[in-house]
Amino acid sequence: MSDVAEPLTRREAFGKASRAWWRGIASGQELGVFIVLVAMVLFLSWKTDTFATQQNIRNIWLSFSWIAIAAFGQTFVIITGGIDLSTGSTMALAGLAAAYLISGNIEGQPSPWMVEKIVGGRTQQMGPDEYVPIALLAGPLMGLLIGTINGVLVAWANLPAFIATLGMMSIARGVCYGWSGGWPFQKLNNGFLEVGQSDVTLLGLDVPLPFIIMIIIAVLMSIFLMQTVWGYRIYALGGNEQAAQLSGINTKRIKLIAFMASGLMAGIGGTLMTARLGVAAPTAAQGYELDAIAAVFIGGTSVSGGKGTIIGTLIGAAIMQVLRSGLNLLGYDPYWQPAAIGLTIILAIMFDRLRVRFQNRPIRSVFNAEGLRSRLGR
């Protein structure tokens, strides 16, 4: 090939670009999982009377919001090639941190700052109103703190992410129990609870506030990942750590950013969860790290890093929640739910493997004259 110096002809450029475009679409597992999600929704709407009611949809939106938020952060970490096992414990501890000052009942006793307030004509005990903004900050900040520690352990102490966050999972959970004495923080200020429980009417639909927060965060996180310098570097780090390092990327800092994002998101998720449930229990969010990780993988993020999107994770989280709700409505014993979720994860990854294999062979040769020629036997 001595003609390498020639510029691309317009046709070739178009051919290459359109192939890249086509492969971009086909390689987005988002499309695949999105179709699965739509199919599930259609099936359930047809099979049950209860699925497509506003009440049920509202419930689904509400209950997957905080898992999805935590999963967004998890997506960052998994794209860098790591994993964050401390998500569930972080959510619980962030919930406690948020609830502490606005709680009217600590360790089963009325808290020192308990006030009495008339809500809806009834006198209720709760934490004072002026602490609500602090509470809303304390939860996410607690998450950020834990994420930062994880990041430092992984990037500077060179611990494997699995080990560092496994330890942190236990540490955070232990702090939850120790701090609360095993009791839930109860009687939370009603202003705080509204963040998790109120609706906003959009286009005639009552949309829960946590869902809206989740969507806003999804948009911000997507922009961060796809459009900013840091996002590019997160992909580069996960795709080929050595390459990233030799290209002059400060890989330690990027790892730290990913874990900080994961901690912060778990903190926000935990705060919203607490506001929704109305109580901060030290036992809350147990096993949620696995739900978040599952949402990330169902959403098409590569297990080995370097590949994945926020929108994919969002759809992944939605699929899990629709599946839960659907199994309920179809009358299956809820005890079987974990089995169904587990099956979904395995099927999703198997599907991904098949898709990659399919993509690497036939599509290419059909769309490329040379491949076609060799197929027809020169």
Binding site: V4, T228, A236, Q242, A243, A244, G248, I249, G306
Partner: protein
């Protein structure tokens, strides 16, 4: 060449625990010059390059860039100064676009109000990337994923990446080791372009013929010291090799006549659609059968099929006249076939484990009684082979990672010899191995052939194929285009068959005329 060197190294030394890697080395490269840096493995080439690239810190000495002293702190700093390094292993991420890779860690951003958000200006990035890709004569869409590009195209991206930092000096560490002849040729064209633009290029390679083709000057290191500088135009191979090894080598490739017996392995119509088509050949007792061809000709794929590592769509395999069914590497091992893969560090060895462990893995059953491994027996047998192959290791417990490339390759060979193979398939057995160790591997191959083993050797180094093979199979795009006898094989004929099918006929016709 009267002007001052763009990069000058003076009296640089570097010591690692127990090893003096560089001893008071001087080195200089001028603007618009290609310097080939040669030396056996362990001569200090990579240490010197890593110091320049900022990956290592020198113990003493001075580095001048354009006459000013520099002290590269880390890789990022060295790039900032204008020294780009192209490593043997690509520093690319497959899931990102060519443009994102070229501008990795220095992505163009939006300015103005958007500045604090660090948003990547993708359009500018792709435009600039297209410009750089044009400079390296690449026909690549900057928006295409690197994972979709061929190896040669990836390398063009890699070079564009070096240009993106506005480098004055480009270090290339064995850039051709993953390329076929065609791609190497276009790489050399790019290098000539860069040289014409006034860049200084430091070129490291093990292939001497490339040195003659591309370099202006040759600097040879041995045991951490600079032992010679030659002007390429005035140099010859013997001279260079003498400098590298510090001794005369009569012939790099030793080949003795070995009596050739009956066919051991025969394959017919071996096919894997789109990869290998209708491959038929046999290899005989005591024979070394060379496989030549360009990268991607389907040689490795053919061998993987024979070894049962990849499924075949069609074809038959005979061993000692009996048809055999090989569906997995286990089957192949049971039938006495050994494969020394091209990528020995990943596919041939467990680097973190000991020499002993690596050697007994495929033949564990033989040393086990009811699942219980008899370590002493295993060690005794393994030691025999370590001695026979002259593997230089302090002990059987040494971690393989710490051995040199040549000795690692010997461990892989030893591992298969313990299985008493009838057929040994060697895929690029001497790639990345220094000259001395190379000769030793070649001698071993001859010794094995003498013992009646049939050897298949894939090699992209033409002199090696020519010197070692009794017969040479040439492949092109999944087909066998020729099987040549030792006497009738020449570099030109092999290359002609490897590239195209029309050419050999022309040559044959020409030869017919002469005759």
């Amino acid at each position: 060449m009267e002007q001052q060197p763009v990069l000058r190294v003076e009296g640089v030394s570097k010591t690692f625990p127990g090893v003096r890697a560089l001893n008071n080395v001087d080195f200089e490269v001028y603007r618009g010059e290609v310097v080939a840096l040669l030396g056996e493995n362990g001569a200090g080439k990579s240490t010197l390059m890593k110091i320049l690239a900022g990956a290592y810190q020198k113990d003493s000495g001075t580095i001048y860039l354009n006459g000013k002293e520099i002290r590269p702190r880390n890789t990022a700093h060295s790039q900032e100064l204008g020294i780009a390094t192209i490593y043997q292993e690509f520093t690319l991420t497959l899931n990102q676009t060519a443009a994102a890779n070229i501008f990795m860690s220095r992505e163009p951003r939006y300015g103005g109000l958007l500045k604090p958000f660090n948003l990547v200006n993708r359009r500018k990035m792709e435009r600039d990337a297209a410009e750089l890709l044009k400079r390296v004569r690449a026909r690549i869409n900057p928006a295409s994923l690197v994972g979709d590009l061929s190896v040669a195209e990836r390398q063009q991206v890699e070079i564009a990446k070096a240009l993106a930092i506005d480098a004055q000096v480009i270090i290339m560490d064995e850039p051709t080791s993953a390329l076929g002849a065609d791609e190497t040729k276009s790489l050399f064209e790019i290098i000539r372009d860069l040289r014409a633009r006034g860049l200084a290029i430091i070129f490291i390679t093990h292939r001497l013929e490339e040195v003659f083709e591309i370099s202006d000057r040759i600097i040879v290191l041995r045991d951490g010291e600079r032992v010679g500088t030659l002007r390429t135009a005035e140099a010859n191979v013997e001279q260079i090799i003498r400098l590298m090894v510090g001794r005369d080598i009569e012939d790099i490739f030793l080949k003795e006549e070995v009596p050739i017996g009956e066919p051991v392995l025969a394959v017919q119509g071996l096919t894997r659609r789109g990869v290998v088509e209708n491959v038929t050949f046999d290899v005989r007792r005591g024979e070394i059968l060379g496989f030549a061809g360009l990268v991607g000709a389907g040689r490795t794929e053919t061998m993987r099929m024979i070894f049962g590592a990849d499924p075949k769509d069609d074809g038959y395999i005979w061993l000692d006249g009996q048809e055999v069914e090989i569906n997995s590497p286990q089957d192949a091992v049971e039938h006495g076939i050994g494969l020394v893969p091209e990528d020995r560090t990943n596919q041939g060895l467990v680097l973190e484990n000991s020499v002993l462990f690596n050697m007994i893995v495929p033949t564990l059953e033989r040393f086990a009684k009811m699942g219980w491994l008899k370590r002493r027996l295993a060690r005794r047998s393994a030691t025999v082979y370590v001695d026979r192959l002259r593997v230089r290791t302090p002990s059987m417990e040494q971690t393989v990672k710490n051995l040199s490339g040549g000795n690692q390759q010997k461990v892989v060979l030893a591992k298969w010899l313990m299985n008493n193979p009838k057929v040994l398939i060697l895929d690029e057995p001497t790639r990345g191995i220094d000259v001395g160790a190379k000769a030793e591997i070649h001698q071993l191959m001859v010794e094995l052939a003498k013992q009646g083993i049939a050897i298949i050797m894939i090699s992209s180094e033409m002199p090696e194929v020519l010197a070692m093979s009794d017969r040479i199979v040439v492949m092109h795009e999944g087909h066998i285009t020729a099987i040549l006898n030792r006497e009738e094989a020449t570099q030109e004929r092999i290359m002609a068959y490897a590239c195209d099918q029309a050419l050999p006929q022309a040559i044959a016709a020409q030869q017919g005329q002469v005759a």
